[in-house]
């Protein structure tokens, strides 16, 4: 009864309001609905992908047999089902590949990106800095498929010839190294742009303090400013690794799509979670179709866990707060 009276009271309140206020309430409601729609998509994504992705584990997949979830998460072979009548799908080695590649690409792009950011923010003359900022913006706006095209047209050839010089046969250049290079190029603009902002926002007093103590400009840049901007740089690394983990089309053009692994050697073919999802697109039903959603779940979990872990480390490391 209490609730009914409350609702009644509210209606009476609305009734007593004038026309303008009523419009406000309607418009407010309308905007609220838009907002709820926008916010609901992440829930839709999680629910639908989970529901679809769980099918291979709980049904017998038209006689092939259900996929063992433990083997799925830890195994080292990916055998496409319908062709081989197998349920031997494992992403264990692919998870290792994905993390390995993302980490290596970060090892390449983080130093280069941070140094570029330092150059733009502190070293370069104003005009050159402005030019470089435009270059970084352009690099960031190039679609990933163009990076993929560049990768398979230039980087694959380079890796193939490089391996040849070392006396190693690589499968047309499709390899860990090519994938790492493409991803490093793609994450470079993200890392540079965000690091640059954090480097620029380091307080002048810290900089002047260091200079006044007799440190040279370069010493100040490298020892004081970079370590003050630590948390921003770390944030850029987190974003960069997120992009590297989720990148799909460019990777699928240079990875070579290995069916077993994990691949740690630089010139061997490899596969990532995303490139695996892009295989076998012709299927529209059956296990080869459903398993993509299972890989999607794994990808989301991997990205989420990586983010949580890195953010935890960032909290521990980045104790110098920069405004």
């Amino acid at each position: 009864m209490e609730i009914v009276r409350k609702v009644n009271n509210k209606f009476l309140k609305i009734k007593n309001k004038n026309k303008k206020e009523k419009i406000d309430i309607v418009v407010n409601l309308f905007f609220l609905i838009s907002t709820i729609i926008s916010a609901s998509f992440i829930i839709i994504i999680i629910v639908f992908i989970s529901v679809k992705g769980i099918i291979p584990f709980i049904t017998d997949n038209n006689g092939i047999g259900s996929v063992n979830i433990f083997k799925f998460l830890t195994g080292d072979v990916w055998l496409s089902g319908t062709a081989f009548k197998s349920n031997l799908y494992s992403v264990g080695f692919i998870i290792v590949n994905t993390l390995y590649i993302a980490l290596l690409s970060l090892l390449l792009s983080l130093p280069v990106g941070v140094l570029t950011a330092l150059f733009i923010a502190k070293v370069a003359p104003k005009k050159i800095a402005e030019f470089l900022r435009t270059v970084i913006e352009l690099l960031a706006s190039i679609p990933s498929i163009v990076y993929g095209l560049f990768g398979s047209g230039v980087i694959l050839v380079f890796v193939y010839n490089f391996a040849d010089i070392l006396g190693i046969q690589s499968k047309g250049g499709n390899s860990v190294m090519a994938t790492v290079m493409v991803l490093a190029l793609m994450t470079l603009p993200t890392i540079t742009a965000i690091s640059e902002v954090s480097i620029r926002s380091v307080g002048k007093d810290i900089e002047h303090g260091s200079l006044a103590l007799g440190a040279t400009k370069t010493q100040t840049n490298f020892k004081v400013i970079l370590s003050s901007a630590k948390s921003g740089i770390f944030a850029s690394a987190i974003l960069g690794i997120g992009r590297a983990l989720g990148e799909a089309t460019a990777v699928s053009l240079v990875a070579g799509n290995a069916k077993s692994g994990p691949t740690l050697a630089f010139f061997e073919t490899t596969s990532t979670l995303t490139s695996t999802m892009l295989e076998g697109l012709k299927e529209t039903t059956g296990i080869d179709y459903d398993i993509r959603f299972s890989v999607g779940i794994v990808l989301m979990v991997v990205i989420l866990l990586t983010n949580i872990i890195l953010n935890y480390i960032k909290k521990k490391v980045g104790n110098v707060d920069v405004k």
């Binding site: 206020e21 406000d24 407010n28 905007f31 838009s34 729609i37 926008s38 916010a39 998509f41 992440i42 829930i43 839709i44 994504i45 639908f48 992908i49 990106g113 140094l115 570029t116 150059f119 070293v123 370069a124 470089l132 270059v135 970084i136 352009l138 690099l139 706006s141 190039i142 679609p143 990933s144 498929i145 163009v146 990076y147 993929g148 095209l149 560049f150 398979s152 047209g153 230039v154 470079l188 603009p189 040279t216 370069t218 010493q219 840049n221 997120g242 992009r243 983990l245 989720g246 990148e247 799909a248 089309t249 053009l253 892009l278 697109l281 959603f293 999607g296 990808l299 989301m300 983010n307």
Partner: protein, 401 residues
């Protein structure tokens, strides 16, 4: 400063110079690669042509009226001309680099204009034979067939010395990207039409109407999370949600442009919301307060005072959205498929320009030339959008002082 210190400082400085050079080097390498591979195919024909070649089998009626047109002076010296048939042929290469024989000129009184379709049982349907098509085979009653590999000169010689032909096989020049361009335009239009209103309304709600409470915080963070989701996951969602939905509600029977647009709209929502909110935030509160003090209600204030000042921001958001639609590939591979089509229907499969590149590169052997040409077009559009966004934001900053 000691000498040793100087040396170390210089080395460090040089390292930063080198690092910065990597970015510049990469950008110029990408542009150089794309242009050097793609410029050859870049012409109007590529943009207006179909991707799939259509083949025709033409044959002639019994009594042939030969042409009397002499060789026009405007013809290229490399074109071989048969006066009797009113036909000029030329050797050329197609978009995959194979040698072809192309129809360079047909006289208006050429008997070949009256060919009927041999595949049609009733022999009544006339078929179009026009300049720009490829002749792949001419068969005769009384002598051996001339094929593409014999070259235009011998083909014309054979044709000129015979009184009738049994069959002419010809086709349109394929490999064009008209279909993908149209699809891309459809995608841009439908996606923006869906995402822009929802995004702007959400931004207005979050910035103008929402109370500062826990529910608002949750709604905001749910939208924030969307930014970190990789596009291939959006593609999976499109495949699981929007494709079945559009099949049920429309006449579509597979992945289609509408399901692709809906997927892209979800990807764009956080981009549009953020850009619009940024521009709403810079509208000074005094404007809102004055409007309210003058007796306007919240709705009037929002639509008549706040939104007009936020228009440059919304425009920027739209341009960013267009750039994202043009560049998106992973999500679209799932949400509308990878089959390159010429007849575009919004209820059917087709490819955007980016997915067209992916299809070309996944082919065996990969068609790098055509892929690069499409990449040139994409890069040009992205460049243009970037410049426009910069100009808008510059003006915006100046106006706000």
């Amino acid at each position: 400063m000691s000498n040793k210190r100087k040396v170390i400082d210089y080395t460090y400085q040089i390292i930063t110079y080198l690092a910065a050079f990597v970015a510049v080097g990469t950008l110029s390498l990408i542009f150089m690669f794309v242009f050097s591979n793609g410029y050859k195919l870049l012409n109007i024909g590529l943009i207006v042509n179909d991707y799939h070649a259509t083949f025709y089998n033409g044959a002639l009626e019994e009594n042939i009226e030969f042409s009397t047109t002499t060789r026009p002076t405007s013809l290229d010296s490399e074109t071989y001309y048969s006066k009797k048939w009113g036909l000029g042929l030329k050797d050329d290469f197609d978009r995959e680099g194979n040698s072809i024989i192309i129809v360079d000129y047909i006289a208006s009184d050429s008997p070949l204009l009256a060919m009927y379709n041999k595949n049609n049982e009733e022999f009544t349907e006339l078929i179009v034979f026009k300049e720009g098509q490829l002749v792949s085979k001419i068969a005769y009653f009384d002598k051996s067939t001339s094929l593409t590999r014999t070259g235009a000169e011998i083909m014309i010689y054979d044709l000129d010395s015979s009184e009738s032909v049994r069959e002419i096989v010809y086709s349109s020049l394929g490999g064009g990207i008209r279909g993908s361009i149209i699809t891309t335009f459809y995608l841009i239009a439908i996606t923006i039409a869906i995402a822009l209103p929802i995004g702007i309304f959400t931004a207005i709600y979050l910035n103008e109407f929402a109370h500062k409470n826990r529910i608002t915080t949750i709604l905001r963070s749910l939208i924030e999370v969307l930014t970190g989701v990789p596009s291939i996951i959006f593609g999976l969602m499109g495949l699981a949600v929007f494709v079945p939905l559009t099949i049920k509600l429309t006449q579509a029977d597979s992945a289609n442009i509408i399901s692709g647009s809906l997927t892209l709209a979800v990807i764009l929502l956080p981009v549009i919301i953020r850009a619009t909110e940024e521009s709403l935030k810079v509208v000074p509160d005094t404007l809102r307060e004055s409007s309210l003090a003058l007796g306007a209600n919240k709705t009037q204030t929002t639509f008549k005072v706040v939104l007009p000042s936020a228009i440059p921001g919304i425009l920027t958001a739209t341009l960013l959205a267009i750039g994202r639609v043009i560049g998106e590939s992973a999500a679209l591979i799932f949400a509308i498929g990878t089959a390159v089509k010429d007849d575009i229907s919004i209820f059917g499969k087709s490819t955007s320009l980016s997915v067209h590149i992916w299809s070309m590169m996944k082919d065996e052997p990969a068609n790098i030339e055509l892929a690069s040409t499409i990449a040139i077009i994409i890069l040009m559009i992205v460049l243009l959008l970037n410049i426009t966004i910069k100009l808008i934001s510059k003006r915006f900053i100046r106006e706000l002082g």
